[in-house]
């Protein structure tokens, strides 16, 4: 998929090279079958109707803020470009009580899209 072709205009222009952090529950760690990436189920929208939550690393500053209170969780990083190459948008969504830099990845996440995100991400903490 071409990044240019898939690019959709974000309401806020988060730079393509912006790193996005997402917490990963241990149930979504790979479990000894040879793969190193998290399960695709870790990259879905919340059932409460909000889109997939991420933190813009440069605005959050410290990933420990994202992991605070979530013992045992890991953390992965994706670039905004990788997200856009999947036809998704990055939208800033500051939330009270959350670390700075909160954003949502908006757009339809089919299983194929979730799997692409899972394979594209990089472990920061595991």
């Amino acid at each position: 998929m071409s990044g240019t072709a898939a690019r959709s205009p974000d309401p806020d222009d988060v730079p393509d090279d912006a790193e996005l952090w997402r917490r990963i529950h241990p149930q979504h760690y790979p479990q000894g079958d040879g793969r190193t990436w998290p399960y695709s189920a870790a990259f879905e929208d919340s059932p409460n109707g909000t889109s997939m939550s991420v933190f813009i690393a440069s605005e959050c500053g410290d990933y420990n803020l994202v992991l605070a209170g979530h013992l045992g969780f890991g953390l992965v990083a994706l670039s905004a470009l990788q997200v856009r190459e999947c036809g998704l948008e990055v939208v800033r969504k500051p939330m009270e009580g959350q670390p700075p830099g909160h954003a949502e990845v908006v757009g339809k996440k089919t299983k194929s899209i979730s799997r692409k995100l899972a394979k594209a991400c990089r472990w920061v903490v595991r």
Binding site: Q31, D33, E44, T110, K111, R115
Partner: protein
Amino acid sequence: MSTSAATCVGFNKEPVEPVRQWQVSTREGTVKHTPQWLNSLLDELTALSRLPANWDSYGARAIDTQAAFMAAKFLCDVLREDSVLPKLVPTVRGNIQLEWYNGRAELEVEIGAQGPLTACFIDHQSREEWESEITADLTAIVDKIKACF
């Protein structure tokens, strides 16, 4: 080898509906036994069923025990006695995702309270790739499980 229905103690509190038990005919007679993966399957489903709501910190639902049962039923229907159990992964909707991966091919099947919902397959050698909602006909999925895993 033939199969027959037998009562199986479930991962939930009560015995669940009958699932398949293997029945092997030998010179000495017929022996009933359970496949090696069944205990692991029930243990894993039990553990997943204990995940509380919001277990992923993003508002995930607790695992639907009916979805867990349907996952067990699906696997008992499609796996061979010597099959490798797929990974059982909880989803935010309270469903169970079954994941097969062996480097050559990948298959994901999401199971909800009503049964299989969606499937996604990639064969890295043939470059076959598809994703589909699952209807009553499970032939395509069963064929891939048998052929690739």
